[in-house]
């Protein structure tokens, strides 16, 4: 593909012909969509802490995967599903029990991650594991992983879209949902599975530590922009894709940049773009007076 002359300074030579860039654009875009859709519910349900904890917990799986020589994606997914199950068993349904359960599982998993990462860094073949697990590896993903990522993406997005109404109702009031015949606990488990998968996908692209930014940031901004949940999911997905693609482009361009002329990490750009977008939205919506404070009410739970 040739780039028109006027855009040449933006798209550095080789951007559109590089195979790692292709994979990064595809995977990054897909993962941003998943994060936007799932993240909208994460923000609505007030589970940002659980989402971030899953990402941290996943590092134990991601680092273990390096030790046995498989893609960290499988490690993340396995570990996150186990952790989501543990949180559900300990009692994720009550906000207070939920935070405690999350914290307990998080602590145990980080201990494991410390051990595995230590082994990774002391073994000569996997010294890059720490950076890879914590900060992502979007330019190093093998194209063979693309179909796997696609399947996981369809599963996570599909769960949230199929459960949309029962999930919305049980997020508002579990009792109200139960009286309408919603199997509240099963719906909650379904959502946790989607969250675990979404966080894993995000972890392999922009890194375990930063994945929350992609999960929470676009969704939080979208909730300020629209009062319709389906539209919020679409906006969050769009914002995520834009930030990810722009981040990939900037990272590619940054190979010429100071101070070291070795390129800046994609994750940095993606997270910064998401953050900047959220701040702009936050300030502009506030100035527009779009939010009057919630008065004392029966609804303020």
């Amino acid at each position: 593909m040739t780039v028109p002359g006027s855009l040449a300074p933006v798209f550095e030579p080789g951007f559109f012909s590089s195979s790692p860039v292709h994979v990064a654009l595809i995977v990054g875009g897909v993962v941003a969509v998943v994060s936007g859709v799932v993240g909208t519910f994460t923000v609505m349900r007030g589970q940002a802490f659980a989402g971030h904890s899953l990402a941290d917990i996943g590092t134990a799986g991601g680092s273990a995967a390096f030790l046995v020589g498989i893609s960290p994606l499988y490690g993340f997914v396995t570990m996150n599903l186990i952790a989501a199950g543990a949180m559900e068993l300990i009692g994720i349904r009550r906000p207070r029990g939920r935070d405690l359960a999350t914290g307990i599982v998080l602590g145990a998993a980080l201990g494991l991650a410390a051990l595995f990462l230590y082994w990774d860094t002391t073994s000569s073949s996997t010294t890059g594991a720490t950076i890879n697990v914590l900060f992502g590896s979007i330019f190093e993903l093998p194209s063979s992983l693309v179909p796997v990522i696609a399947v996981f993406s369809v599963v996570a997005t599909g769960i949230v879209l199929v459960l949309y109404r029962p999930l919305l109702l049980s997020s508002l009031s579990p009792d109200l949902a139960a009286t309408r015949g919603v199997p509240v606990r099963l719906v909650g488990i379904g959502y946790l599975i989607a969250l675990a998968v979404a966080v894993s996908l995000s972890a392999v692209t922009i890194g375990a530590i930063l994945s929350t930014a992609l999960l929470i940031g676009p969704a939080a901004a979208a909730l300020r922009l629209t009062k319709r949940a389906p539209l919020a999911m679409a906006i969050a997905a769009g914002v995520g894709v834009a930030a990810t693609w722009l981040g990939i482009l900037l990272a590619y361009d940054s190979y010429d940049w100071p101070p070291r002329h070795q390129g800046w990490p994609v994750s940095f750009f993606v997270v910064t773009l998401v953050f900047a977008f959220y701040i702009v939205i936050h300030l502009s919506v506030r100035r527009a007076g779009g939010h009057r404070p919630n008065p004392v009410s029966a609804g303020a739970a």
Partner: protein
């Protein structure tokens, strides 16, 4: 008040973590009746409502709704919960919440027919919520939220409407508006209402009967039958005085002058 009752509560006892919350509770509600479920916080009102809703299993006794025993999804019951999680940022309009009353248990994103949309509009109109139908529910006042929740409960055409402390945290005017609204709809649509409250006074103009809860036991009947010094003293297990002041009823502990309960009802009371 003849015919088969819409709700029969018979011999309900509930133990929760080793403590008996309800003792052999029984009462009936006839179709179209407006009943106040009165009692102080912790008396067992919420547990009783949860049993009727099928959210809590009684240790003994049974509940019949429309003559049939309970199961989880009972289309005859409409429920207005006391608390619902509503952040101001929640992307949910009043009309969306009412729509969930129609099809919130179904899978997938909502795709509603023109007839369903019209029904939602009619319900919003019935609770005087048309003017804020497109506002975020989280930005509405307490009274406005109650209206929307009532429309949510009514859209599935229940025969019995359960409201859990709908007047809590409302100012006096909203309190009165909600009571009048529920009474009007109950009459118009022939729906029986069971409404819990720690202060019976706002409900007195419209209630047909009261179910008075104290210490996990109940007394039921008309207000004149139940809210008397004799009946309530027996229910509480110690002497209380029922005092009428300016068409308001106060229940005070006997002998000393301290207000025995209802003391948390604040400005709406004395």
């Amino acid at each position: 008040m003849s015919g088969s009752p819409i709700l029969t509560v018979d011999g309900i006892s509930v133990w929760l973590s080793g403590r008996q919350i309800l003792h052999d509770v029984g009462f009936r509600i006839e179709a179209g009746e407006f009943t106040g479920l009165i009692g102080s916080n912790g008396a067992g009102k919420t547990t009783l409502l949860r049993v009727i809703l099928g959210l809590e299993s009684p240790t003994s006794g049974h509940v019949l709704v429309g003559g049939r025993s309970l199961n989880r999804r009972n289309p005859l019951i409409g429920y207005v919960p006391q608390k619902i999680l509503l952040d101001p940022d929640m992307p949910l309009r009043a009309r969306d919440l009412v729509g969930l009353g129609l099809d919130g248990h179904r899978f997938g994103l909502p795709r509603r027919s023109p007839a369903q949309k019209q029904l939602i509009d009619e319900m919003l109109d019935a609770v005087d919520a048309t003017s804020f139908a497109d506002a975020r529910v989280g930005n509405l006042s307490g009274g406005e939220q109650q209206r929307v929740l009532i429309a949510h409960a009514l859209i599935s055409r229940p025969r019995l409407l359960l409201l859990d402390e709908p007047l809590a945290n409302l100012d006096l005017r909203s309190e009165q508006e909600i009571v009048e609204l529920v009474a009007r709809i109950a009459t118009e649509q022939q729906i029986a209402v069971l409404i819990s409250a720690h202060d019976m006074n706002p409900l007195l103009p419209v209630t047909d009967r009261v179910v008075y809860v104290a210490g996990g036991r109940v007394a039921s009947g008309t207000t004149e039958e139940v809210v008397t010094t004799e009946v309530l003293s027996q229910l509480y297990g110690h002497h209380v005085d029922v005092v009428h002041i300016n068409e308001r009823i106060l229940v005070v502990a006997g002998h000393d002058t301290a207000v025995h309960h209802h003391s948390d009802s604040g400005a709406g009371y004395v």
